[in-house]
């Protein structure tokens, strides 16, 4: 959404648009107004990616305007601290949060630990029919719903169109083979030393990039119903071999092994890389003249596919979950439904796409970058989820180390993934 609608408007127009939307959301939120006396809700969000703190404040103000008896105190922590903060607060701490932001990989663990509430029967019909199926994956476990989908995200393909043009490439890459060809052309021209950059540090970031590539190479599941590993064959293995090859060929910046998503934005913004995968919010950063030397040069499209896979995407959705320890679960759910409503989600689409399918047919929104909205709609229809297992944290930590060992050349990709597969029974104990 590089040339998005809101960015093209003047400040006055933007204020007017947001004010109008706040009024609409206010009206929407009051329909589900909870009853009772003064209530204070503590909500836990993440700092980076998707909606900004200002966006959350705007959404929250709309809810509290419609529900004056409710005060919401939002708190923001870095993504890398979010999981630990939720667990320690709910299981070992004071249990102060009524509502928490839950990543797509946590519902199984949180449901088993009794941290979040089953809200299956309380989901309004319009949410069930209007929200992307993939967004529900971020909230569901074993057929039950534990959260209201709020962030709909996946990794998209960002490219510096000037660099591609300078290298004689006129059509954006559609497959990863095209990406490799483009990267080789850019490197041969000497436009940048490393045409590609990735967020491959020893953190969840590298799992997201690997999953996205694994999906392109045909992976759909990583662990079967009996708990056996699938990630060490086919798509998962091919993805890791591909990542290693990019490094060996000098096409991927080796510093990527220490980079997170913000580092990818910074490298692209400095004009030191031509292509990268990143979440939706990367577009606003890379095309912001205040933060980017190449603002206006970066375009974004759906993630490339490979072979029979037209496009691929890791499910980066997140949901708002009401905690089991909340003293005000009804008000907390009403708050979640309010800020996840279609009107609320359409307030600002510069940092995250709405999770409502109808939003993608709204020309007022899509005219900012119709091609990207269309590509995103296609990508959201077929996202691949990371393993939905209660022991996900242990599995992810082991995979992070194994993938990095393979990328450093300490072990082969097969040995790395087979090593994690051998540990699965321990994780499942």
């Amino acid at each position: 959404m590089g040339n998005n609608l809101l960015a093209q408007r003047g400040r006055l127009g933007r204020c007017a648009a947001i004010s109008m939307a706040v009024l609409l959301v206010t009206a929407c939120g009051s329909a589900a107004s909870p009853s009772g006396g003064a209530v204070t809700l503590h909500a836990l969000f993440m700092k980076q990616a998707a909606y900004s703190e200002q966006d959350v404040k705007t959404m929250t103000d709309a809810f509290t305007a419609a529900n004056p008896n409710v005060t919401v105190i939002p708190e923001f922590v870095a993504y890398d601290s979010l999981h630990d903060k939720i667990v320690t607060d709910q299981v070992g701490g004071s249990g102060q949060y009524d509502i928490v932001l839950m990543d797509a990989i946590w519902p199984a663990e949180f449901a088993q630990a009794g941290i979040v509430t089953d809200i299956t029967s309380k989901i309004p019909a319009e949410f069930k029919s209007g929200v992307f199926e993939s967004a529900w994956t971020a909230a569901n476990y074993q057929g039950k719903t534990y959260g209201v989908p709020w962030i709909n995200d996946s990794k998209f393909f960002f490219f510096n169109k000037k660099m591609l043009a300078d290298a004689g490439i006129t059509t954006p890459p559609k497959t990863w083979d095209d990406v490799v060809a483009a990267a080789k052309a850019i490197k041969a021209k000497g436009l940048v030393k490393f045409p590609l950059v990735g967020s491959w540090k020893q953190a969840e970031a590298v799992i997201c990039d690997w999953t996205q590539l694994a999906a392109a190479f045909g992976a759909t599941d990583f662990v079967d119903a009996q708990g056996n590993a699938l990630f060490n064959t086919d798509g998962g293995l091919k993805a890791l071999q591909f990542m290693k090859q990019l490094l060996d060929d000098g096409l991927m910046n080796p510093a990527s092994l220490g980079f997170g998503e913000d580092d990818v934005n910074a490298t692209m913004s400095a004009g030191s890389a031509a292509m990268a995968l990143n979440w939706t919010y990367g577009d606003a950063v890379m095309n912001d003249p205040k933060q980017s030397k190449v603002a206006g040069q970066v375009d974004v499209i759906g993630s490339p596919g490979q072979g029979s896979v037209a496009t691929s995407g890791v499910n980066g959705g997140m949901a708002l979950a009401v905690t089991k320890g909340s003293k005000h679960p009804d008000e907390a759910l009403a708050y979640a439904l309010s800020i996840a409503s279609q009107k609320s989600q359409e307030l600002n689409t510069t940092l995250a796409f709405p999770m409502w399918t109808a939003s993608f047919d709204n020309p007022e929104l899509t005219k900012s970058n119709p091609a990207f909205w269309a590509a995103a709609k296609t990508q959201f229809s077929g996202l691949v989820a990371r393993p939905v297992v209660p022991y996900y944290t242990k599995l992810s930590n082991a995979l992070q180390v194994a993938i990095q060992e393979a990328l450093q050349g300490k072990v082969s990709p097969e040995e790395a993934l087979n090593g994690v597969a051998a540990k699965l029974p321990d994780f499942q104990k």
Binding site: D84, A203, N253, A255, Q404, Q408, K410
Partner: protein
């Protein structure tokens, strides 16, 4: 002579508290705090280490006896982390003592502007560890770090190096950051030791024909050895349980290349939520440090100063 003196002393009606009681009363507040914040958690951790406690599985905490200890002692991950900690400890402590002694000898010379030199040298130690770690993370950044810029401009490097993303280099980079911060402490303590050495001994040795190096090796070094050994004990114990500087610079990566035993324990307890194993790891770390300290204390004892 005695009788008039006794007559002047007023009789004390109440029996005074025994001296030990008074001492106990003064110590009691501090002792209570220590018991509450040190001994009680220690005892609780010892108890927890005998159970399989997973925070994410509340209410299901079976007794496993020494199972957590056995699991760790038979785990390759544990020994790999111990190996990394020992490497960090030996490398950083050795370098800090070498550079610290060199700096102390320099500061001991009657140089003009010596006060300024001492002030500048102490600055890295005055920085909070977090600030130091963040500063070095920026310096070592592959894309826009000062280290790559400096080395390429000096012609020492052809290409930028990925210092913190390369598993063969990352540990050395955190050692450099630690040495840069802790060398001043070593230097200042050794300077104090050097200044307590009787100069006349050195002068007499020189009059007898000893070179400056011989005088240093035969006279000065033996006299400052007890301080060197004390520094060795302190720095070894500190370095073995290093956490913050590595956590901020690399988070234990890449590919666990900088995962020391303290980081391994933290990840086990607070990221894996395996509190039983985490408590056992805490005791195993304490045990290793106690063994190291016992070896050093024995060495100190041999010097005849302790």
């Amino acid at each position: 002579m005695d009788a008039p003196v006794r007559a002047r002393i007023p009789r004390v009606r109440t029996r005074p508290w025994p001296e030990t009681w008074v001492a106990a009363a003064f110590i009691a507040p501090a002792a209570t705090v220590i018991v509450l914040v040190v001994l009680v958690p220690l005892a609780r951790a010892a108890w927890m280490s005998l159970f399989d406690i997973a925070l994410i599985r509340p209410g299901d905490e079976p007794f496993v006896g020494l199972g957590n200890y056995i699991d760790q002692l038979t785990s390759p991950d544990f020994w790999a982390a111990v190996g990394r900690s020992l490497f960090f400890t030996v490398a950083s402590t050795t370098l800090e003592l070498m550079f610290g002694l060199a700096l102390a000898l320099l500061m001991d010379q009657p140089l003009r502007g010596r006060w300024l030199l001492r002030t500048l040298i102490i600055l890295p130690w005055a920085l909070p560890t977090i600030v130091n770690a963040l500063m070095w993370r920026w310096i070592d950044n592959a894309e826009y770090g000062a280290l790559n810029a400096l080395l390429t401009q000096l012609g020492l490097l052809d290409d930028y190096k990925v210092w913190l993303s390369n598993s063969d280099l990352a540990m050395w980079m955190v050692i450099v950051a630690d040495v840069w911060k802790m060398t001043p402490l070593v230097a200042i303590l050794l300077l104090a030791a050097l200044q307590s050495v009787d100069r006349e001994l050195v002068e007499v040795a020189k009059v007898d024909g000893a070179s400056a190096f011989q005088a240093f090796r035969r006279i000065v070094l033996p006299l400052v050895t007890p301080v060197i050994l004390i520094l060795l004990v302190l720095r070894t114990m500190e370095a073995f349980k290093v956490f913050d500087i590595i956590w901020i610079m690399t988070g234990g990566g890449p590919a666990n290349a900088t995962q020391t035993i303290a980081i391994y324990a933290y990840q086990t307890a607070f990221q894996g939520y395996d509190f039983g194993a985490g408590a056992a790891l805490g005791y195993l770390i304490a045990l290793i440090i106690m063994v190291l300290a016992a070896i050093y204390l024995r060495l100190l004892g041999r010097t005849g100063r302790v």
